[in-house]
């Protein structure tokens, strides 16, 4: 599973990165988590609110920082 966090240096972007890493750890997922900070790259996904979460090339979350439990559900749905 390939997970990307789209976002610049904002505090909510960092929060999403943290929650994502925690969730992946809790679920024991085999996933690569990376952060996309380049605005040109971010715009390729067509999002207008950051942070956003991309799972296997698909935007699953925009402008929100979910709880670990909510993110778990999201990741299960998108596996």
């Amino acid at each position: 599973m390939e997970i990307k966090i789209l976002g610049t240096d904002c505090s909510r972007c960092k929060a999403l990165e943290r929650v994502t890493n925690d969730t992946v750890k809790v679920m024991g997922l085999d996933a690569s988590v990376s952060k996309v900070e380049d605005i040109m790259e971010i715009m390729k996904y067509g999002v207008m609110t950051t942070p956003a979460l991309v799972v296997n090339g698909r935007v699953v979350l925009k402008g929100k920082v979910p709880s670990v439990n909510k993110l778990k559900d999201l990741l299960i749905k998108n596996q």
């Binding site: 715009m43 390729k44 067509g46």
Partner: protein, 347 residues
């Protein structure tokens, strides 16, 4: 206490919790005055009439009042906002003529979820979709300046009149500044790379938003926002209560009082480099007003802190050339100046 209520709410489903809480809210809200009096006179047994008692009475009445208003309005706005995504706003604004577009953009700026950290992707998304530059600016001015938190705090601390004045003049500034910027035809001063950005269309998860989801967004908004700003509100009210009657007229009122023509420009000059959100700045504004700063000057100060700030200018520098930034800052500053002068004159 508040946090606990929110935590319980989140575990329950759907409609019925708000349906029970709302009447409870109304009962408490309308009985706050007798409740506060009961606490002061009967529970604490404080002698009424002296200064300290009245200060405590004010505090005990105002804090729950503002908190209750805040929770209700943020909850409502949290639900409302699930209907207004930036994507929908963009679709509405595409191809609108200049003036109509500016009005719509300013109004939508109030209600569309917006965080200044998303200013760049939002700007790019709008411009790429063909939303006119001036219309985009109206949105970018209104979105941070006018929001539900500012509204509640202004109502709670200064009353309806001041809140309506703030929203009304804020809207006028956003509409006119955007319209003028549009008329000036400054598209060439947008950073060149902006026009080379390829805004992609990535497949998105199609999620049907249920009403339950919307209610939950309301709870989330309350938890998120109230959790962040409650301390500012308590400080703001404490200062308002404490300063009332105690603080002598001093240097502040001489400098920024009604009689001085340079009060407003001075307030803006101090305000622009500062950065704060509405919740952080309103306690300071309440101190200013207590210290004899006139309303127009205080409003101008608040607007300049929220609407114009160095961090925001630095963010915008990535997508705009300095000529455009200078024009933008200049026009908004003039707008705020006019608001300050007008209110110092008529109030």
């Amino acid at each position: 206490m508040k946090e606990k209520v929110v935590a319980i709410n989140r575990n329950m489903n759907g409609w019925f919790v708000p349906a029970i809480l709302l009447p409870l809210w109304i009962i408490i809200y309308w009985n706050l005055k007798p409740l506060a009096n009961f606490v002061i006179d009967d529970l604490f047994g404080l002698a009424s009439g002296n200064h300290l008692t009245e200060t405590v009475r004010f505090f005990i009445f105002e804090v729950p009042k503002v908190m209750l208003l805040l929770v209700l309005i943020i909850f409502g706005v949290g639900i409302l906002r699930t209907y207004f995504t930036p994507e929908k706003t963009r679709t509405i604004l595409e191809g609108k003529s200049l003036f109509t577009g500016n009005i719509l953009a300013s109004l939508l700026g109030i209600i569309t979820p917006f965080c200044s950290c998303s200013a760049i992707p939002l700007f790019l998304g709008f411009v790429e979709a063909g939303v006119p530059l001036g219309v985009t600016f109206s949105f970018l001015i209104a979105a941070p300046m006018i929001n539900e938190v500012a509204l509640v705090l202004l109502i709670g601390l200064f009353g309806w009149k001041v809140a309506v004045i703030y929203v009304g003049t804020g809207l006028i500034i956003a509409i006119l500044a955007g319209w003028i910027l549009g008329k000036l035809g400054l598209e060439k001063f947008v950073a060149d790379w902006v026009y080379n950005v390829k805004v992609g269309q990535s497949p998105e998860l199609e999620v049907k938003t249920t009403f339950y989801d919307r209610i939950n967004s309301g709870y989330d908004a309350v938890k998120d926002i109230v959790g962040k700003i409650w301390i500012y509100i308590i400080i703001g009210i404490a200062v308002g209560a404490g300063a009332h009657g105690y603080v002598p007229q001093d240097l502040m009122s001489n400098l920024l009082g009604k009689g001085n023509w340079y009060g407003v420009p001075l307030a803006i000059l101090i305000g622009v480099p500062m950065y704060s959100n509405a919740a952080g700045i309103i306690p300071i504004v309440s101190v200013l007003i207590e210290k004899g700063v006139s309303l127009g000057t205080a409003l101008a100060f608040m607007m300049s802190v929220i609407a114009l700030s160095l961090p925001e200018i630095i963010i915008l520098k990535k997508v705009l050339k300095w000529q455009l930034i200078a024009t933008f800052v200049g026009i908004v500053t003039v707008g705020i100046l006019i608001v300050g002068f007008v209110f110092n004159t008529i109030m």
